[in-house]
Amino acid sequence: MSLSRRLLQILNFAALVAMLIAVYAALVLAPDAINVDPSIRPAQRIIYFHVPSAWSSMLAFFVAFIASILYLITKHIRWDIWARAASELGIAFTVAAIISGSLWAKPAWNTYWTWDPRLTTYTIVLLLYIAYFMLRGAIDEPGRRARMAAVYGIFAFLSVPLTFMSIRWWNTIHPVIVDAPENTNKFGLGPNMMNAFMITNIAFIILFVTLLANRISLGWAEERMDALKERLNF
């Protein structure tokens, strides 16, 4: 107990430092993107927030997927807590990625929204995991809830690559993809930009691990509270 609390404190502090460094890397260390129009150069810096958010969300959903499988194998409550915690964080990071992407897309593509494969897939992913939590919310009995959620978590995660593939194929037939500017950003990163990019990515992964650890410890606290309520017939 005290060890895990100490560990959480260390993680929290590490995440704080990492995020401060990330802010420095994104705003100061990274030079202006000279290969894009001067008017959208400030907006281009969203890449240091947007891409790490997207990666963290994928990592989160992957953790949830593995935890769901482990729950069905072991039936240990731990993995249900992990799966729920990771799915919640996945939603948070997905929303962050979608909003930051939209903010960037307005100056860069002159629209908040396009039916680009990545955008569309991300929105479907968001809906999948909202459905996941609706399913959880609609079952009262904890063991059953954990089981049903784990099954849905597995189905949901497996559908993501299929959705992405089908949307990409759909769009290649209709050549309306507007991701060219994004590509130039991605592959045209200069050395210092690349450093900032990697720093922010690592910082976000530390942030993700920290939030996950905190959410899991909160999950255990909820678990204990439920047990206490049970005992007191509350």
Binding site: L127, F155, L158, L162, M165
Partner: protein
């Protein structure tokens, strides 16, 4: 293996017999499908230059929406009659129950499609039916029934039941819907099956993947 198939057949035949006597599922799916066609007709009447342009979308959306009605019943009727416990007490592999239920849902939706297709030909005054289209329809419906039967089992455990089913099902079904619509457009524009193999393969992959995952996870869905 023979015993396994016997169980699958027993569950399937039980569901078919119930349906043949009550006609609950087919009637609601068929009437809903006609209603959907009517609504789509008015929804697109004024804006679309040629009504046949919307056939692929109307076809697949109607099948999805009306199919989800049938899928919802797969386990709810068992639960309401209290026969679910009996089914689960049977000393058989639970995945056999899944395949029986899945095949029953597949047949219900296919029958609804057989009813829907000629109706669409008449309403849209366009003969868009072709052999490759039927293949794609079958593959899409199989994926729909494969995932839908598991999710129907999930939804029956919840407070909201059939209300939740489409919310769970539609985001996962998106690849099937897209493949189906795109292939239907292709066939209507005269593309051969070979040009659409990408989508057909996607459907086959989807069906196999989810049949295997359903086979592996169904035990946990019906476990008490």
């Amino acid at each position: 293996m023979k015993r396994y198939l016997q169980v699958v057949w027993a569950v399937l035949w039980k569901d078919l017999r119930i349906e043949l006597r009550t006609k609950d599922i087919f009637t609601s799916m068929a009437v809903f499908a006609v209603l959907a066609l009517m609504i789509f007709n008015f929804a697109f009447e004024l804006r679309v230059p040629d009504k046949t342009m919307v056939i692929p979308g109307v076809l697949w959306v109607t099948i999805t929406f009306s199919g989800v009605l049938g899928l919802g019943r797969a386990f709810i009727s068992e639960k309401d009659r209290g026969s679910m416990a009996g089914l689960l007490l049977a000393p058989v592999d639970r995945s056999a129950i899944y395949f029986g239920k899945m095949l029953a849902s597949l047949i219900f939706i296919l029958v609804m499609e057989v009813f829907l297709l000629p109706l669409m030909v008449i309403f849209f005054n366009a003969n868009f039916i072709s052999l490759p289209l039927l293949l794609v329809l079958f593959l899409g419906t199989l994926g729909f029934a494969a995932v839908g039967t598991v999710f129907s089992g999930l939804a029956v455990n919840t407070r909201t039941r059939e209300v939740l089913l489409p919310v769970l099902l539609f985001p996962v079904m998106l690849p099937v819907l897209m493949a189906g619509i795109r292939a239907t457009i292709g066939f209507m524009e005269g593309d051969a099956l070979a040009d659409m193999m990408k989508w057909v393969n996607l459907l086959i992959f989807f069906d196999l993947l989810y049949l295997v995952v359903a086979y592996m996870t169904f035990d946990f869905v019906v476990e008490e």
